[in-house]
């Protein structure tokens, strides 16, 4: 890709015996909002630091806007960065913090002030110019940090869990705002987070990282609906996990023996009959209904291309737009069903049936098997 905003070419970074980033290759387009999603210790922050120039790769090459920057120090890379703990300069006012990158570029004062006015307006920071960071709320500090990262219209903006220190309400507000800035400014964003909802809300494309490698990289809907591994299936979205054994392969589908019954699941790649597998089905893909008079006793049945199991409703967790129905199955495991709270009138300890389309969900060979 000749006009990629950022390219990594088999980049590796080791810390002693630990490989923090393991032969990662990646290309990010201009205009793209890219999320690096992974649990802590997966190497995502190290990757961001390699792009920023705060770490040197042991192997591989980093290119920004086509130029090789692998050996350039951070101050020659022209990227912006926003940190989790804001890291504003405590001895500088809001305005001084924000124009810092322009001053370092030796931009003339009039131009600096013009840019400052523009970014203050974009981020709704007017009136705070003369304040010091310790006189700002957390949300304001994060906006100032964003303004400092964006004012020079960098070739790339790196964001390292920028919302992790904000409260929930402010976070969801900022998620929308940050995406808006990215779309308006058309600056590629690389956004590191361990929060899958953040990644799903904001980004265009997601790479799920684990142990220094990409577990899966793709459009967010692809990652969500079509996870490439058990790790991704468990990490992205909310899914029920069912462990079973394949009994019969039938084209793209397979029958899984589970809890004395059978379920029709997608066939894992190269799976054979008798393999131990792990099946994931998202909460919202399940449907719960009151057990009919003849519905008792069903457990793990496939009928008319529908998987169905019966159990007892243990609790309803009301969440507003949705509710989680927690269903205890006869053998003791729990299934969680997410549904609109109005659709059904169920009470705890009612017998229920859970159904979902046969062959939906994701199934993988059990790890370590």
């Amino acid at each position: 890709m000749p006009n990629a905003a950022l390219e990594l070419d088999s980049v590796t970074r080791r810390f002693g015996p630990v490989i923090a980033v393991d032969r990662i290759s990646l290309a990010i387009e201009q205009d793209e909002f890219f999320a690096l999603l992974g649990p802590s210790g997966s190497g995502k922050t190290t990757m961001l630091r390699l792009i920023a120039g705060l770490e040197q790769p042991d192997e591989g090459q980093v290119r920004i806007a086509g130029e090789v920057v692998t050996d350039l120090p951070p101050y020659r890379r022209g990227v912006g960065m926003v940190f989790q703990n804001f890291l504003l300069f405590p001895h500088k006012t809001v305005a001084e913090n924000i124009v810092f990158p322009l001053r370092m570029q030796k931009m003339d004062r009039a131009q600096q002030q013009k840019q400052l006015g523009w970014i203050l307006e974009l981020l709704h920071l007017q009136g705070l110019e003369a304040r010091y960071p310790n006189e700002l709320s957390g949300g304001q500090q994060q906006r100032v940090a964003l303004a400092r990262g964006l004012i020079s219209r960098p070739a790339l903006l790196l964001l390292d869990e920028p919302l992790a220190n904000l409260d929930r309400e402010l976070r969801s507000e900022m998620e929308v705002e940050i995406r808006r800035y990215q779309k308006e400014l058309k600056i590629p964003f690389v956004y590191v987070t361990h929060n899958q909802e953040e990644a799903l809300t904001m980004s265009d494309r997601i790479a799920v990282m684990r142990n220094g490698r990409f577990e899966q990289i793709g459009a967010k809907t692809e990652i969500y609906t079509n996870p490439a591994s058990a790790f991704v299936a468990a990490f992205v979205g909310h899914a029920n996990r069912l462990d079973g054994q394949l009994s019969e392969i039938d084209g793209g589908l397979a029958r899984m023996n589970w809890a004395g019954g059978q379920l029709l699941v997608p066939r894992p790649a190269d799976a054979k009959s008798g393999d131990r597998v792990r099946y994931f089905i998202k909460h919202e893909d399940l449907e719960v209904t009151a057990a009919g008079l003849n519905g008792g006793g069903l457990n793990g049945h496939v009928a008319n291309d529908i998987n169905q199991v019966s159990g007892t409703l243990r609790d309803i967790i009301f969440k507003g737009q949705t509710a989680n129905y927690i269903i205890t199955l006869p053998q003791g495991t729990d299934l969680v069903v997410s549904d609109t709270p109005r659709t059904i009138t169920l009470k705890p300890s009612d017998p229920v049936i859970v159904r979902w389309p046969a062959g939906s969900g994701a199934c993988f060979a059990a790890e370590g098997a």
Binding site: A52, G53, L54, P73, P74, Y75, R77, G78, V79, G80, M81, F83, N85, L87, F89, P90, H91, F100, P101, M104, Q105, Y132, N134, R148, S152
Partner: protein, 295 residues
């Protein structure tokens, strides 16, 4: 029930005064009273090693009028300024290195800075004499190698100044170190990402955010140097007499206590002026000082 109790409870300020009282009293008695007595003596007269309480300004006339005292004072002032500057330039990198890269040894390294204090100042200066003097290690080595000795090191102002640097640099390093351990070095990464070269990041971020510690170091070095007695006596030559040395002679050899007191008052005012000069440069808000200042 609670009304009765709270009625008996002392006001928080009063309770705190009870704790702070003894220490405060000691400070007042041991610091302020002698200082006051010196101020009083400076307006008195000494004759044949006796103090007479007839009030006059003669001591100050002598002090400001005679060229020798002006020379001593200017010499002390210039020496203190140069020594402070050297301590600053040499101390900063050391403090920075310990704070940044000292890791688990940094406390030990800082404590080792106190190692010279394990012995007394006089002994240390004598040891320095053994290093710099005519039969000292440096010059003897040069002579042994057939080279001329460095005369500038033998009983000169330079030697006296080196002695001061040696005596006071650990104060400078410690003050700067204590500031740097509370400094968030991540801010330097931020500065660099935003386009600052390392030296620029130092000027923009590290220096202003550690100015309090640096200023304390400057005061801790400059003021004792201004009053310095020991190093010119042991390491300096005849042209190295400092203000402090002359002052101490008033109380010893010449017995002119009143003049000595006037010199003390003068020194006190000079030191106070230094602190007043530094004070407005310390802006807590701009220093990144995070402790809340109660209004």
């Amino acid at each position: 029930m609670s009304g009765l109790r709270s009625g008996k409870r002392l006001h928080p300020e009063l309770r705190f005064l009870g704790l702070a009282g003894p220490g405060a009293a000691f400070i007042v008695i041991s610091l302020l009273l002698p200082l006051l007595s010196i101020v009083v003596f400076s307006f008195w007269r000494t004759e044949s090693y006796e103090l007479y309480a007839d009030w006059n300004l003669d001591n100050y006339r002598t002090l400001l009028g005679e060229a020798a005292y002006r020379t001593f004072f200017l010499r002390s002032l210039v020496t203190a300024a140069i020594v402070t500057a050297i301590c600053l330039v040499c101390g900063w990198p050391v403090a920075y290195f310990i704070a940044r890269w000292g890791g688990r040894y940094r406390l030990l390294l800082v404590l080792l800075l106190a190692a010279p204090f394990f012995t007394g100042a006089i002994l240390r200066i004598t040891a320095l004499q053994g290093l710099l003097g005519p039969i000292g290690l440096v010059n003897m080595t040069l002579v042994e190698l057939g080279l001329p000795p460095i005369e500038a090191l033998m009983y000169t102002q330079l030697a006296s100044g080196l002695g001061l640097v040696y005596l006071f640099i650990s104060f400078m390093v410690t003050a700067i170190y204590l500031s740097l351990v509370n400094f968030n070095f991540e801010l330097l990464e931020v500065a660099k990402i935003n386009g600052a070269k390392p030296w620029r990041a130092f000027i923009e971020i590290t220096w202003p955010l550690n100015w309090i510690g640096t200023a304390i170091g400057i005061v801790l070095v400059f003021i004792p140097c201004l009053a310095n007695v020991v190093t010119p006596r042991f390491l300096g030559g005849p042209d190295a007499t400092s203000f402090g040395m002359s002052l101490s002679q008033q109380f010893g050899e010449t017995g002119t206590w009143a003049l000595g007191s006037a010199m003390g008052v003068f020194l006190f005012l000079a030191s106070f002026a230094v602190i007043l000069a530094i004070w407005p440069t310390i802006k807590l808000k701009r220093s990144g000082f995070t402790g809340a200042v109660q209004q």
